[in-house]
Amino acid sequence: MQIYLPIAEVSVNAFLLLGLGGIVGILSGMFGVGGGFLMTPLLFFIGIPPAVAVATEANQIVASSFSGVLAHFKRKTVDLKMGTVLLVGGLVGSALGILLFNYLRALGQVDLLVKLCYVVFLGIIGGLMFIESLNAIRKSKKPGAKVTRRRHNWVHNLPLKMKFRVSGLYISVIPPLVVGVLVGVLAAIMGVGGGFIMVPAMIYLLGMPTKVVVGTSLFQIIFVTAFTTMLHATTNYTVDVVLAVLLLVGGVVGAQIGTRIGVKLKAEQLRILLAILVLAVCGKLAFDLLVQPSELYSLGMDGHA
């Protein structure tokens, strides 16, 4: 069944969108990631204008992270104070990201920016995850290997210290603010929540305990993506609510199935699968940038990047 999307102004098969939402939902349920980094490139591939894909995906992430954070609130695994600091940085970053996005859109380079961001970040994260989980699998075969203890690094020597009771940390607010800004910029440009960057940053850079990391990042992501959605909606008019609803329905159902599959797999296997998936998306995008495209020309109209 074809559905005409009022903002994207393209006609797309509704079942294709439900299916995409479902598949990404399954993966996000399995791996505990938002799935924005997978969904946005998939939307590019099926012909949704990139500007609409990015803005609409931000809206969809609000839904999936809201659903996720409720569970974490029940388990009391959200550090509200840390979340707020990350959020302040995130809002600033998101505003900067939109400015950059609109500037490059006027230049006709927004596609390139979005795709380059994807290739670079997916490449780095996917590569690191792949190596790390390979090592973890190798170590698990040789029992006795110890987990490295939390180090005291340069992060702990910065001024403006603050107590974060839930995380059990006494650190400067500068690093969380910077992490927040970075994630905000990425959320605006890439149409992702940024969890896949924030989570490692919180664990390795800020030294937060793993159990509060996911809930806190979800808490921050809701507000940053909500803010991004509003900015895209009011400056570019590119949020397509029909597209968002179709993706949501598929995503919600998929996430339920995914969580059940996820329980049956081992953590290392899950991480290596996720790493392969991330690298595959990255590879496809990089391939498109490196190989001569069959059509060298592209059209730009007002309202379509």
Binding site: Y4, V241, V242, Y297
Partner: protein, 249 residues
């Protein structure tokens, strides 16, 4: 109403020996949520005050054009190993949709001079001025090629059926990826390659119902629209979470 106008036109220009009387299967196209494109049947007749002249062949050309808007055509080039947009040409006005159907091959029923004057063929319908790049024609060609691939530009030679040099009909398929606006159907009657009569009719193509409402809201009340999108997202997220915990019990 249309018939009245036709009648008035016929009466106003008595000097013309042959004039067009036109009918359309749709006088408007509505883009709804399930819009899958539309087919417009254009038919009519040649009205004659005098017996048919026997000099030259009769030709019928039917064009349907969407609103003309500026387009930026960008070309990719290799920079530092990756393909990036480099040169671009601003085409000042190109129709978002353009179909041209003829009764015989174009070069047999329309002279170049007349094409230039009436802007009939696709390259003539595109207005491109002030290009800074030397090979700006390749950009216009690219524009035509890309739009033709999406069925937005159609050349339908010999697609107009003409019966007894009087009745003519054709159908034009509008694809689903239409831009809204006032579309113009134009019928040109030619004899010996010269245009002897021209007739135009408007076909409004607009979103209706929910599509219209959402589009207007998004553009005129962007803040409200943003809030609405967010509340839908929050509600869906909450529902999902509630359903999850129900299932777990």
């Amino acid at each position: 109403m249309i018939r009245l106008i036709v009648l008035l036109m016929v009466l106003a220009i008595p000097a013309k020996a042959e004039t067009i009387v036109l009918g359309l299967s749709h006088d408007r196209v509505s883009i709804t949520a399930t819009f899958e494109g539309s087919e417009i049947l254009i038919f009519g007749a040649v009205k004659r005050d005098a017996p048919m002249p026997d000099t030259g062949d009769l030709g019928v050309i039917i064009t349907v054009a969407g609103p003309a808007v500026p387009v930026t055509v960008r070309r990719k080039d290799r920079r530092l190993g990756i393909w990036v947009n480099t040169d671009n040409v601003e085409v000042s006005a190109a129709p978002t949709f353009y179909a041209v159907a003829t009764s015989s091959p174009m070069n047999e029923i329309l002279r170049d001079v007349e094409d230039l004057r009436y802007r009939v063929t696709i390259p003539r319908a595109i207005r491109s001025v002030g290009a800074l790049v030397s090979d700006s024609e390749t950009f216009t060609e690219a524009l035509i090629r890309i739009r033709a691939d999406q069925d937005l530009y159609q050349i339908l030679e010999e697609a107009v059926d003409v019966e007894q040099d009087t009745l003519f009909r054709t159908s034009i398929a509008l694809p689903a990826n239409l831009t809204e606006g006032d579309y113009v159907a134009r019928i040109l009657l030619t004899r010996d390659g010269r245009v002897i009569d021209e007739y135009t009719a408007n076909i409004p193509v607009y979103k209706v119902g929910l599509e219209r409402w959402l589009f207007n809201l998004a553009h005129e009340n962007a803040f409200l629209y943003g809030l609405m999108s967010l509340s839908i997202a929050i509600a869906a997220g909450w529902l999902a979470s509630a359903a999850f915990s129900l299932l777990r019990r």
